[in-house]
């Protein structure tokens, strides 16, 4: 399955500045719950705590599934679809 991943709000700094990437997932990755550790283990180079805590994203990260808050789509249990765009946003605090 092919997906687009996006990282913004500073999340991209964990991924060498990559803001957008197309990925082909192995068969066993079918939900957001399995997608998160896959990203951590295959795309992240360092600082896994800055991305995940426990089995979910760390506090202060908002996940979007096709431009909607993942809470509207079932969060971790969302079943990934071919062509989905998943966005990871770090919230900003500066003013």
């Amino acid at each position: 399955m092919k997906l687009t991943l996006e990282f913004t709000g500073g999340m991209e700094l964990l991924f060498q500045g990559t803001k957008k990437v197309s990925v082909t997932l192995p068969e066993k990755v079918t939900t957001v719950k399995t997608l998160l550790p896959w990203i951590r283990d295959s795309l992240l180079k360092s600082k896994p705590d800055m991305f995940m805590q426990g089995d979910t994203v760390r506090p202060g990260v908002l996940v979007l599934i096709n431009d909607a808050d993942w809470e509207l789509e079932g969060q971790l249990s969302y079943e990934l679809q071919e062509g989905d765009t998943i966005v990871f946003i770090s919230t900003l605090h500066g003013g």
């Binding site: 909607a68 605090h93 500066g94």
Partner: protein, 450 residues
């Protein structure tokens, strides 16, 4: 050589005096009227806000001044009356608060309160467009109210020159209709959220960093609150402030201006666009993206079904693990024997004692200024560039001592820790305490401040 007669001397001196007077007045004219900063630095307490009488109709002057609003069918007379009869509290007179205040004052918001504990400094002027050189050193809240009153003398502007905390927030917010979160740190953001939920006020929230901005309207017409979306605070090490990460000036202008726009729409009785939605601005790619947020979270402790929030009992700074300001906090992870003062390190340099100096700042900062003969290995790259450290240590006779330096002395301590773990046999690995900031303060006053 012939001597000048006494009369001629007097005449020459009088003429010179006159020339100097004229030059002096020209110079004073350039800098404009002097502002007596101490006289202006007043501040109001939450309890002395005067009550305003609501206007039943617009005056002839109002009609003239706000005619471009009155011509809009969506605003019209009713909408503008809503604006002039409204009161708004702007928390933070920085990059976001500056443009927000300018537009709120121009639009005629009847009463505008500005809260900020900080003073105007030169490095603010790159984006905080409500302040100016003349008002450097003045409290930001006072500076903002001066600028707003100059734009519109018909409105009431109130400066609150203190840090908003849980003892003052609720009383203050209760006196205003709409709150704009233009603050710069998580503890203040959670505090404002909770106070707005308790007082039932809409919270127009904005944030900016680097080339990005975010904006949403919390706690209004069924939209979620900040805690619904972010129930737990971010780990402090993931929070970057503008003073470390940088921020492109106009990005704060865009976000702060849209905050004013949304607040004015609420006051005018028009549904805001970002209720339950999040605007994300990426000024680099030019993308403005709006996403749908969740509704209120049933389990939210602030606004959910079984909400337990009854007052501002949380210690917000403790809960977030950081102070309610955007100043970088100093770490102390090393023991004193692993640190060296800037004065002692200066003696090492003056004596030309062979050593390795590792500058752990990001490359972009070393372009601003760097000590001669330093080796730049940004902290994030240290792990992958350890071989360069090893090489440098053995570049001379025997093993050279290693010193690590950064901007403020935080990352350099982490670097020392890391190098110590990887090369436990090295005799000297020390962090230069307080970094280049301390170097500027104690050793080299000419060193740039950024």
């Amino acid at each position: 050589m012939t001597a000048e007669s006494p009369d001629a001397t007097i005449e020459r001196l009088l003429a010179e005096n006159e020339r100097l007077r004229q030059r002096l007045s020209a110079i004073e004219g350039l800098s404009g009227p002097r502002i007596d900063k101490t006289a202006l630095d007043r501040s109001s307490s939450p309890n002395d806000t005067p009550t305003r009488k609501k206007k039943a109709k617009l005056s002839r002057n109002d009609i003239h001044r706000y005619s471009r609003h009155l011509l809009l069918p969506e605003i019209s007379v009713e909408g503008q009356l809503g604006i002039v009869n409204s009161s708004m509290l702007v928390v933070g007179a920085g990059g976001l608060g500056s443009p927000a205040c300018l537009y709120l004052a121009s639009a005629g918001v009847g009463r505008i309160g500005v809260v900020d504990y900080d003073e105007v400094e030169v490095s603010n002027l790159q984006r905080q467009v409500i302040h100016d050189e003349e008002r450097v050193g003045l409290s930001k809240s006072t500076s903002a109210t001066i600028a707003m009153t100059r734009i519109n003398s018909q409105i009431e502007c109130i400066a609150y020159n203190y840090l908003l905390d849980r003892s003052t927030a609720l009383d203050l917010i209760k006196q205003y209709d709409i709150v704009l979160d233009c603050s710069d740190n998580p503890p203040t953001r959670y505090l404002l959220n909770d106070a707005c939920v308790l007082a039932g006020k809409p919270l127009v929230s904005g944030a900016a960093l680097r080339f990005e901005g975010q904006l949403t309207v919390y706690n209004h017409h069924g939209s979620p609150c900040y805690r619904c979306v972010f129930p737990a605070p971010p780990p402090p090490e993931t929070v970057t402030n503008c003073g470390d990460g940088g921020v492109f000036g106009p990005v704060t202008g865009i976000v702060g201006t849209i905050q004013a726009l949304e607040a004015l729409k609420i006051a005018a009785g028009v549904e805001p666009a970002y209720c339950g939605k999040l605007l994300m601005v990426d000024a680099m790619s030019g993308a403005f993206r709006t996403i749908r947020l969740r509704g209120k979270r049933k389990e939210c402790v602030a606004c959910g079904d079984g909400a337990t929030l009854t007052g501002l009992e949380t210690d917000y700074e403790m809960w977030c693990g950081m102070k309610a300001n955007d100043k970088t906090q100093s770490l102390a992870v090393l023991k004193q024997e692993d640190r060296i003062s800037v004065d002692a390190y200066n003696r090492v340099r003056v004596a030309k004692t062979p050593h390795v100096l590792i500058d752990t700042r990001p490359l972009v900062q070393t372009k601003i200024c760097a000590l001669d003969n330093s080796l730049n290995i940004p902290i994030d790259e240290l792990e992958s560039r350890l071989s360069e450290v090893e090489e440098a240590v053995h570049a001379g006779q025997g093993e050279l001592p290693v010193y690590c330096i950064c901007r403020r002395g935080n990352d350099s301590q982490l670097a020392v820790q890391h190098i110590r773990t990887k090369f436990p046999s090295l005799a000297v690995v020390k962090d230069v305490e307080g970094g280049l900031e301390a170097w500027r303060r104690k050793v080299d006053p000419e060193w740039p401040e950024y």
